[in-house]
């Protein structure tokens, strides 16, 4: 995984609650084993009925064409577990999402891919949204994971929280499987113990065969 220490980019306000992964990465864009993740991002919202670009959709506005940070509402990433909804952010160089809250699976998928999910308390989130709207893409914001600060135009730095474990994983870009396999002996010991105590858990056998 690509480590994350800091990221600077244009902050895009997509201020809505409950944006789901069907909206972020529409099924219709996943018809290929190697789809175009860059085009996938909000593919449906980007276009009008006749197939032309919708100039009113925020990511289509000239000042937001090279986004770096997505700013949104509550429960971002609800719905399907599809990880494409994270990969299409990265393909567009969005490496930070600032929200009031994230859906659980989406947040996990972010952490697995070096995409930093920042949840701000409601008041701070509202204040930050105002700054982002005011800035309107004229200048970038910076997010530093070492100091856990967001800085940029229109106000003081914002301190954000992230569980220490998640922060370490992002900073070091740890290989998650490698981290777990340090416990290979304990996994084997668990399997041996359970095979003795509850053999049916350790053997999935079709008894007709």
């Amino acid at each position: 995984m690509q480590p994350f220490s800091s990221h600077t980019g244009i902050a895009v306000p997509l201020i809505r609650d409950d944006i789901n992964t069907d909206q972020i990465a529409p099924t219709q864009a996943m018809r290929d084993l190697k789809p175009d993740y860059q085009k996938m991002l909000f593919m449906r919202a980007r276009r009008r009925d006749d197939g032309s670009e919708d100039p009113n959709f925020v990511l289509n506005k000239p000042q937001f064409r090279n986004p770096g940070i997505l700013v949104t509402g509550q429960n971002f990433g609800a719905g399907s577990s599809r990880e494409a909804a994270v990969w299409c952010m990265l393909a567009n160089n969005i490496r930070v999402i600032v929200a009031k809250s994230f859906a659980d699976i989406y947040r996990e998928n972010c952490l697995q891919n070096g995409l930093l999910p920042i949840a701000l308390p409601p008041d701070e989130a509202d204040a930050f949204v105002s700054r982002v709207i005011e800035t309107n893409g004229a200048a970038p914001f910076s997010v530093d994971l070492v100091t856990q600060r967001i800085s940029g135009p229109g106000g003081a730095d914002i301190q954000f929280e992230l569980p220490a474990a998640d922060r370490m994983r992002l900073l070091e870009g740890l290989d998650d499987i490698g981290l777990t396999l340090k416990h290979a002996d304990e996994i084997v010991a668990w399997e041996k113990r359970v095979a003795a105590q509850q053999p049916w858990l350790q053997a999935a056998v079709d008894h007709r065969r």
Partner: protein
């Protein structure tokens, strides 16, 4: 110290605490599917890592497979690459794949329980958000992304921070033609589409106890629609009877030992939960969604809300009404529909089809309505055909398909036409999910069947039994 059932399952499956503070929870059964398995196999092979426990890993074919009778890999052209990659990867890694011609092919969340792979108090993972369907049997199941799936393939564990616990007690008796789907929609409507975020939910109370196992699965299936990390109903004698004799269930002396243990899988009387809710199910009407989020739901006699009455969410409500082509104050019952879909991991098991067939029998789908039934597994399909349900549906004018996810996720090309109003037994009424501009109303199989016959959104209690 008194423990919840979740605490007990977590504790017995805890393998180790990782350096980053996450806890490694052993996964007893891992079921992959065609939409994500190809990536997992590819990633593991790139890393030169084997599937650690291929014998505890299975692969289903559900998301991208066509439902048309006589189907082959290429019937839905875009599905072919996914199907072939899943087949080849499963073969290379010795993972049992329930292939297109397998008599037990079907939706992962349907086939794992029906084959007896899912056991009370066991852990389960699927790279799909509806994994907790199998919580209906008292299993703790996690829906995961692709990278987490690959982690489980390589280590047979999932690395989690311990979730919070929630109990939802369901009181009262359900009225005629009211089922778990209506209860689940009411719960989401009450606590909201993020109301269970960060929580594992235990459903308890007399109404949950009274539900047959298939309905408990429907209840747990919709857990993710309120953001829950997992959800289950503690097992009881009905659970054990349901599992007994299924192909992968323990047998003989193992069965007796298992049963003795499973009977202890209950939440202790004085155990406490982080959050508790109580929902009274007596007097509950059939429920149906009006908006574009499963929490936007009403009783069948309800009227669409007025966004002006809810200033805080006015924008969202207005945009939902616009998408759904509805005006504030309009009654849902009576709205003409053009499509009805009965199927998906939510409502495609045999009793779901029996309920729908009982309403449809001897009647015709209303003119102008395209109606489909897609069984959740090839086994369900065979069992339904043995009872003649396929004839009931076909003679009424329904399409009777081969098993798969079909119109729920639209991953296999099954979808509605733009502007159509669709009553669907699935789990998400998100914009464009069932096809561009399709207006989805989620409801039970009974309501969907009654609607197909009526041609408009119908109160099943008025349609059923009427000659």
């Amino acid at each position: 110290m008194p423990q919840t059932l979740f605490d007990k399952i977590w504790q017995t499956h805890l393998v180790a605490r990782r350096a980053d503070g996450r806890e490694l929870i052993y996964i007893d059964r891992h079921v992959l599917h065609d939409l994500h398995a190809p990536h997992g196999y590819e990633q593991l092979e790139k890393q030169n890592r084997p599937v650690r426990r291929a014998d505890l890993t299975f692969a289903a074919l559900d998301h991208t497979v066509a439902t048309k009778p006589g189907r082959v890999d290429s019937t839905f052209a875009s599905g072919e690459a996914f199907i072939r990659a899943t087949r080849a990867g499963s073969r290379r890694n010795s993972v049992r794949f329930f292939d297109i011609d397998d008599p037990e092919q079907g939706i992962s969340h349907v086939i794992a329980p029906e084959l007896g792979m899912v056991l009370p108090g066991a852990t389960h993972a699927v790279p799909d958000s509806h994994a907790s369907t199998v919580g209906g049997l008292g299993a703790l199941a996690f829906g995961v992304g692709t990278t987490e799936m690959t982690h489980i393939m390589a280590t047979q564990t999932i690395a989690l921070r311990r979730p919070k616990t929630m109990r939802i007690r369901l009181d009262g008796a359900l009225g005629p033609h009211v089922s778990a789907k209506d209860v689940a929609l009411r719960i989401i409507g009450t606590i909201g589409s993020a109301g269970a975020r960060g929580h594992v939910v235990e459903y308890s109370g007399v109404a949950a106890r009274a539900m047959p196992i298939e309905q408990r699965m429907t209840l747990c299936n919709l857990n993710i629609e309120m953001g829950g990390r997992s959800g289950f109903v503690a097992p009881d004698e009905a659970t054990f009877q349901w599992i007994a004799g299924r192909p992968y269930a323990p047998q003989g002396a193992d069965w007796d030992r298992a049963l003795e243990l499973w009977r202890t899988f209950q939440t202790d009387d004085s155990a406490s939960f982080d959050t508790e809710h109580v929902i009274d199910c007596s007097g509950l009407e059939p429920q149906i969604t009006w908006g574009t989020d499963p929490g936007q739901v009403l009783g069948i006699s309800g009227r669409v809300p007025d966004p002006a009455a809810d200033p805080a969410r006015r924008d969202i409500l207005e945009s939902a009404l616009a998408y759904m082509g509805l005006q504030p104050g309009v009654a849902l019952a009576g709205l003409p529909v053009q499509r009805v879909f009965i199927g998906s991991c939510t409502n495609s098991r045999l009793p779901d089809l029996q309920v729908a067939a009982d309403i449809v029998r001897g009647r015709r789908v209303a003119p102008g309505v395209t109606a489909m039934v897609v069984p959740g597994s090839s086994s369900v399909k065979r069992a339904a055909e043995a009872e003649g349900l396929d004839r009931v549906f076909r003679e009424a004018g329904f399409f009777w398909g081969e098993s798969g996810c079909s119109m729920c996720a639209g991953g296999n090309g099954d979808r509605g036409e733009p502007g159509e109003r669709c009553v669907s037994t699935t789990n998400r009424n998100f914009e464009n999910r069932q096809g561009p501009k399709v207006r989805t109303h989620l409801a039970s199989p009974a309501t969907a069947a009654a609607t197909a016959i009526a041609g408009y959104i119908a109160d099943v209690r008025q349609i059923a039994g009427r000659a």
